[in-house]
Amino acid sequence: MNAKREIADGIRSAMPVIFAAAPFGLLFGALAIDNGFSVFEAVLMSATVYAGASQMVGINLFGDHIAPWLIVLSIFAVNFRHVLYSAVVGRHVGHWSKLQRYFGFFFLIDPQFAEAEKRAEDGKTVTFLWYMSTATAIYASWILEGWLGAVFGKLVANPADYGVDFLLPVYFLGLVMGFRKRPSWLPVVAVSAVASIGAYVLVGSPWHVSLGALAGVLAAAAIGGEPAEAAE
């Protein structure tokens, strides 16, 4: 496949992500300033942590004068699900160099992971060029949104007025549905849904993500691997 096509494909994969994440990128910038961040610090956080939910959790804690190590731990807890992502995607990128892997995995956020898995499932090679085209488009717009939100935050109206605050769950649902041909999809989704709702009530956010995901993964492992060895 030629390079031009890989880049175009990569940017096309990024489009709905950029669209769905934009309100959150802007909101992050605006809230960061509200919580006493400088514009530089807001942009720095979007550029280096690069994970929406954990950035929101982080700035909320900054406002409360909590011990620094506890803020770092909270960011780590919210992002812990990422541990699974490089383990999964790593199986499709054996042809990348070591440097490409450790560089590329920096950008392995929820939608990047889902798009990479979708590409592998479609039988296409997850090339470094395709991956970085998607990643660069999402990353650049995320930083730009953080900056715009920080500078013009006061001008951003209530996102709920336009329904954009609920675009991300809709987008994630679309991704979940895209994986429905995979073995054990229905039991995995059912178990993860029930477990995450239960954990959300009993343990609280953000732990419902890790606990719900763990329950779904264990369900899939319990059901088994290849259909051939399903009889047991």
Binding site: S54, F76, H82, V170, S184
Partner: protein
């Protein structure tokens, strides 16, 4: 240059986040073969994780949002991703106007 406490916390948070992004690969790449059950678990990761980002939001945000997720869920069996996305957007606006 003097860096603020906030800057240091951000950089430490970024480092912790990077560890989560490479950690899984670091561990898994040490194994020559992957047990079928581990492989089945890994194949379930996208659906499992992404479901947890949808389910509580679908249940606890409000009736309009619950209705939106139901519409998007059904639509996703028949329509491509981008159409589901746009339909979901229209649905959340409509349901909020109708049932709040």
């Amino acid at each position: 240059m003097e860096l603020s406490t906030t800057t240091w916390i951000i950089l430490a948070g970024a480092f912790a986040t990077y560890l989560t992004r490479i950690g899984g690969h670091l561990v898994l790449s040490r194994f020559k073969t992957i047990h079928p059950r581990v492989n089945a678990g890994l194949n379930a990761v996208p659906a499992a994780v992404l479901t947890t980002l949808v389910a509580p939001a679908a249940v606890f945000t409000g009736p309009a949002e619950t209705a939106t997720i139901i519409v998007a869920f059904v639509a996703a069996f028949y329509l491509p991703m981008m159409a589901v996305f746009v339909l979901g957007w229209i649905a959340v606006l409509a349901f909020r106007a109708l049932i709040g």
